[in-house]
């Protein structure tokens, strides 16, 4: 059965590019438009990996990570940040919130696939 990845980003084109890259490798991708939508969708379907942006309306990525980590079934699910933010300060906040890794945009499809495979196989 195909593994499911939740991509959370307020940019439609970015979500499409993530879905395009991961669908091609056989992953099923669920899209969410912001942290709030991402949390709702993560609660509705237990996914294998969450890939989230940081700066989004309604709920940002760090808040989403903290909210997911407070749910018993998301304590061990890998969560990767995919964002334009790259400062050490925000990376440290991400790590403290429970992020598994940090990817700075733009992403290269092969490198994204490589990291996803390393994290969830």
């Amino acid at each position: 059965m195909a593994k499911t990845i939740l991509t959370v980003d307020d940019s439609g084109s970015l979500r499409q590019m993530v879905a395009f890259s991961l669908n091609a490798a056989g992953y099923q991708v669920i899209e969410a438009v912001d942290g709030e939508d991402g949390l709702k969708k993560a609660k509705a379907t237990l996914v294998d990996l969450v890939l989230t942006d940081q700066n989004m309306p309604n709920m940002d990525g760090l808040t989403l990570i903290k909210s997911l980590r407070s749910l018993s079934n998301y304590q061990k699910v890998p969560i990767l940040m995919l964002t334009t933010e790259s400062s050490d300060e925000i990376k440290a906040l991400g790590k403290a919130a429970g992020a598994t890794g940090w990817l700075v945009k733009p992403f290269d499809p092969n490198r994204l696939l490589d990291i996803v495979q390393r994290v969830i196989g």
């Binding site: 334009t84 890794g101 733009p106």
Partner: protein, 182 residues
């Protein structure tokens, strides 16, 4: 001896003009940035749609070619050439996927620029509003108080703008970003 009279009316006129003129210019800047953002978003949506369609057609074509290469007993050189074109297409597709993400980053930059313009407009308008506090009968001490309040108000606005509008986009090229696993 030089006159000590403060040209209060001229000062009022200057503040009102500064606010009105500045607002007019900045409204045009806001409209243009907004329009550029909408056009950019629509153009990227069209490019993404076109890219997806071309990619689907190309994948179908590649599959057909591979089948043909078997059934038509193509030479090894021809089969290698088909495979080479497949790899080249895949590499170009990856480059396009990376490039199409620029809409997300430019959108963030344009949105921040719009907030900065909004901040500048508020600042100019708040300066212009102070003209009501300038009364022709005021002396230099009263003027000093009004100017002091103006400075304080501007500094407060400046501080809150710095806090709210930190740049989140530092990229200056479209090369793929760093990856770090914790």
């Amino acid at each position: 001896m030089a006159s000590q009279t403060i040209p209060m009316e001229e000062l009022q006129t200057l503040l009102v003009s500064l606010g009105a003129w500045g607002e007019e210019h900045l409204e045009h800047v806001e409209t243009d940035i907004d329009r550029a953002n909408v056009l950019l978003r629509e153009a990227i949506a069209m490019l993404v749609q076109g890219f997806m369609a071309i990619n689907r057609a190309s994948q179908t074509q590649q599959a057909l070619l591979l089948n043909l290469s078997v059934s038509e007993h193509l030479s090894q050189a021809e089969i290698s050439e088909v495979a080479m074109h497949s790899r080249q297409i895949e590499s170009e597709v990856n480059r396009i996927v990376t490039g199409l993400q620029f809409e997300d980053m430019t959108n963030q930059l344009l949105t921040r620029a719009l907030h900065r313009v909004g901040g500048l407009k508020t600042l100019l308008l708040s300066m212009a509003e102070q003209h009501e506090k300038l009364i022709p009968e005021h002396g230099s001490d009263d003027l000093a108080v009004v100017l002091q309040k103006m400075s304080e108000s501007l500094n407060e606005k400046r501080a809150s703008m710095h806090k709210d509008l930190k740049s989140s986009v530092n990229q200056q090229h479209m090369g793929a970003g760093d990856i770090e696993l914790f």
